[in-house]
């Protein structure tokens, strides 16, 4: 009886006895993510479940991510299979209006320039010692696109999924702080004051319907490994534009996206186990992610300057900063910066075109990367 009592009491305190400093640090990091999401309003839909998942998985003996564990079940079903990020893309496609891009298609090139941070960061990641596929996973933070970052890192470097996802979503939320100093440093006051004409090109419904179909077929043939990414975002957009499947469109942008966002966030948080997250490698991932997103802005603005030069000063280089996937946040940053120097300057629609280009650009960049990796024999 006495030994049973002792064993029982020991069992009661087993969690406390197993609690280490590393668990406390991770619980504090999870709490910080909750604070950023709840109090500061930084990407709350992702940071709240990620923060809570990080807390749950770091409670000693909770076995959340052990075989058969509560979160492990969803991780195996949705993250390991890459289904969750793809379902999120379905919702993004259903929510995105590509009309500004269809009105002014040459601006899509800024969406390509805004991805160059990925490729420069790849070289930096290799230089600091990451192996090939880890470097690919780290560099994809430069897509400035959460689902793409999750898709690629869960495919090639699942051990970095937590760090990559936290970096991608945190820096996306910090775009209004990261971009303006770079935009100011790389442009002259005269360039920032350029007023762009209004582009009013009416677009037919048939064009809007054909666009996602043509993008899917063309881009998937060129980069077949990226077909799931391109296909889901474009299928979502087709549902939005065709007007024939309104219930499916609403389900994609609401119920499916909400449920998947919740489970995906918890799963990402649950990859932040102390022994995997508290490493020098994580700090490097965070630093390289910051560099990647900064470089996207640098190259985007420089490309905007080039377009400005080639068009005889008709394009305001600031819109180059919106060639990333953080939609519509970076377009709003461009509008605010433009108005700061010229109150009559309304860059929003032009920046939205670049931003929509950035959304397609990030998916295409990932698709091209996957196909090149396959071509090089690095992945099967």
């Amino acid at each position: 009886m006495e030994s049973a009592l002792v064993s029982g009491i020991h069992g009661l305190f087993l969690g406390v006895l197993s609690l280490g400093l590393e668990h406390v640090i991770m619980i504090l990091i999870g709490s910080l993510l909750l604070y950023l999401g709840i109090v500061r309003g930084y990407e709350p839909l992702l940071l709240v479940p990620i923060g809570f998942g990080a807390i749950l998985v770091n409670i000693p003996l909770s076995e959340m991510m052990d075989e058969g564990g509560f979160i492990r079940f969803f991780y195996d079903a949705g993250v390991r299979t890459e289904i969750f990020p793809l379902l999120i893309f379905l919702g993004i496609g259903a929510m995105t209006d590509f009309q500004p891009l269809l009105e002014n298609p040459k601006i899509i090139l800024l969406g390509a320039a805004g991805q160059f941070g990925i490729f420069i960061t790849l070289l930096l990641a290799l230089a600091v010692g990451f192996d090939k596929l880890d470097a690919v996973a780290v560099s994809i933070i430069g897509a400035c696109d959460g689902p793409t970052a999750i898709y690629v890192s869960s495919k090639f470097a699942p051990h970095l999924l937590g760090a990559v996802s936290v970096a991608a979503y945190s820096y996306m939320a910090l775009v209004p702080l990261i971009q303006p100093p770079i935009m100011q440093a790389l442009t002259t006051e005269k360039e920032r004051m350029i007023v762009m004409g209004v582009v009013r090109q009416p677009i037919s419904k048939t064009t809007k319907i054909m666009f996602p179909i043509i993008v899917t077929v063309f881009a998937s043939i060129l980069a077949p490994k990226g077909a799931p990414l391109i296909g889901t975002i474009m299928f979502g957009n087709l549902m939005k534009e065709c007007g024939a499947v309104d219930r499916l469109k609403r389900a994609s942008e609401n119920e499916i996206t909400n449920i998947v966002t919740l489970l995906l966030g918890l799963c990402i948080g649950a990859t932040m186990e102390a022994d995997k997250f508290l490493r020098g490698e994580t700090l490097l991932v965070l630093a390289l992610g910051f560099i990647a997103i900064s470089l996207d802005t640098v190259v985007g603005v420089l490309f905007g300057k080039l377009m400005c030069l080639l068009t005889g000063g008709k394009i305001n280089p600031l819109i180059g900063a919106a060639g990333i996937s953080a939609f519509p946040m970076s377009a709003r940053v461009v509008q605010a910066q433009g108005q700061k120097y010229n109150k009559r300057n309304h860059l929003l629609m032009h920046a939205m075109s670049a931003n929509a280009g950035g959304q397609i650009g990030s998916v295409i960049a990932a698709a091209v990367m996957l196909s090149v990796l396959q071509g090089m024999g690095i992945v099967g």
Partner: protein, 48 residues
């Protein structure tokens, strides 16, 4: 393949390929806009 060959190859083909694909997409958008031009709603015109 060493890391540098891998990195430079992926960076150059990746960046170039992304730019090329998006440039062709911009041309395709112009093409579908020409093939399916905007036409004001005929029924609305009749009512007007």
């Amino acid at each position: 393949m060493d890391n540098w060959t891998f990195g430079w190859t992926l960076a150059l083909i990746g960046a170039g390929g992304t730019m090329l694909v998006l440039w062709i997409l911009s041309l395709l958008i112009l093409l579908i806009r020409k093939v399916f031009p905007y036409q004001p709603d005929a029924s609305a015109e009749k009512k007007g």
